[in-house]
């Protein structure tokens, strides 16, 4: 839908009809008052279907054997504009580089999705989920295990060859 601009002229002084404007307003509000159509969504019962590129709570992809796909390359903490990713790399017993510590502070995160975009091994993703309320603040720092356990679908990346996602 194109964005249009509606220009409203200011009324000239001396020609302002205050009462008429007020009554017009009353009529308008009355029409809306009796109109049963509402825009409210009854949230827990009615759920919006999230768009394929909706960016929410992160997901860490895992290999078939349960290891995280992350190789601790350090690109996501580098690219992260909110500085919300903490990463300490290390070596596992098979000599593979892996993240000893991988934490995302969902509070600091601005959900720009750049971590997913930059990830060379498609390990970290932003996901199609926003229902991540918690009772304590520290629960919002997601560690590696928690990120791996997220089971919501991950966000699709923008495809330059199909810019409108059709």
């Amino acid at each position: 839908m194109p964005i249009t601009t509606k220009v409203i002229q200011r009324p000239e002084p001396g020609r302002v009809s205050y009462l008429r404007a007020a009554f017009k307003g009353m009529a308008l509000t009355l029409r809306h008052m009796v109109n049963p159509k509402t825009v409210t969504q009854q949230y827990p019962e009615e759920q919006t279907e999230l768009h394929p590129r909706w960016r929410g709570t992160h997901v860490m992809e895992v290999h078939a054997d349960g290891r995280p796909k992350c190789v601790a390359c350090g690109l996501c903490p580098t690219v992260c504009p909110a500085n919300c990713i903490r990463l300490v790399g290390g070596e596992d017993d098979q000599g593979n580089r892996y993240p000893i510590v991988f934490e995302i502070d969902e509070f600091r995160c601005i959900f720009c999705g750049m971590c997913q975009e930059v990830c060379p091994v498609e390990a970290i993703h932003v996901g199609r989920d926003f229902e991540n309320a918690e009772y304590t603040r520290d629960r919002f720092v997601y560690d590696l295990d928690r990120l791996m356990q997220q089971d919501h679908p991950s966000t699709l990346l923008w495809d330059p060859s199909d810019p409108k996602g059709e």
Binding site: R10, P11, E12, P13, G14, R15, V16, S17, Y18, L19, R20, A21, A22, G25, M26, L28, T29, L30, H32, M33, V34, N35, K37, T38, V39, T40, Q42
Partner: protein, 431 residues
Amino acid sequence: MDPIAGVPLLVSTSLKIAIMFGVVMLTVAYTTLAERRISAFIQDRLGPNRVGPFGLLQPIADGLKNLIKEEADPGTASKFYFLLGPVLAMGPALVTFAVVPFAAPLPTPWGVVDMIIADVPIGILYILALSSLAVYGIVIGGWASNNKYAFLGALRASAQMVSYEVPLGLSLIVVFMMAGNVTLTGIVWEQQQLGFWFAFPLSLGFILFVVSAFAETNRLPFDMSEAESELITGFHTEYSAMKFSMFFIAEYAHMLTASALMATLFFGGWDLPGTWDNAYWYQGELIRGFDASGAPMAAAPAVWKTLLTFAAFAAKTGFFLLLYIWVRWTVPRFRYDQVMELGWKVMLPTALAYLMVVSATILVLDQVGISGFYFGLALTGVSAICTVAFVFFLDRGRIMVGAAAPRHGRVGPRPTFGRGAMSSEGATTGD
């Protein structure tokens, strides 16, 4: 039939107080719900609909929450007056309803019970006196908070009170002239006898009363004392939990009283169109009118009449409550200077002039000897002319200027900002 007396009077009055208190409080509670739901409907939303069916238990949940909520106690507030504020605001709001008749008299085995808690002879003066007291609650609360926003709100409330009390009183005087009485039962009776609800013969008075009543109850578009965009929440900025709730209840109780007054003074109170439900104590007799010879005719009170008239009263009051809410969610807030200007430059002279016109008309009609239905009709015509003239002046923006338009008389280029203001041309146009 005889009026109720003695012990039954005591019992019936106590019962009426208890019942009406309950009804008023319940109405207030549900008006808050109505406010929220209607505002939601106006904005194409649903409003609170989670607590109970259709959200009907929401006011109870709100009340419970406010009762058990932790109260913030401002350290620099004046403790005693801080506490006194809400009490002073809520008390008068509740007791004013005592003199409003809400139904036709009810016949009982012990006598006829008036459907009014206290039919005091000073009637409306009692209401004026007490509702003026209510502003003390706001002023004291705002001052005692020791908060500059609260204090500004309180100042505005008192200034607004003073400004609109006068047109309110003046618009009531025309009613008194018509009724020849200040008791509300008398005013209802006169409207029944005239065959006209006063809203028609006193149309401009009704308009002035409605506007003044809006201002008196601090409702939008006159809620200067708690203008959120300017004063946080004005006089009750520092209040929380139940103390805030009491201010809130007071505001809605005021709305209820003002709506009941509009219904009673200008829309016949509990009167239903027609004459069969008339009832008035005349020289110890409950009468329904006078016959051609001037002899009183006895009224026939009945339980069904009481119930039906109460329904009529409730419907009228309910309509004005709806109007309050409706206006609030339509009309934006005035600027403070506009409120003052409207009060002193428009309302007061208009009310005075209208008082002159009405009294002159009544005098002329009395001299000519016209009374009854034609008296009302003539007055309706005169008032209609006044109303049209008033609206013409108002509507053309000659007296009231909408906030959107610049003050009239100012001609020339608008003040420019940005690049224009930086240029030498912009600098020379400023004076």
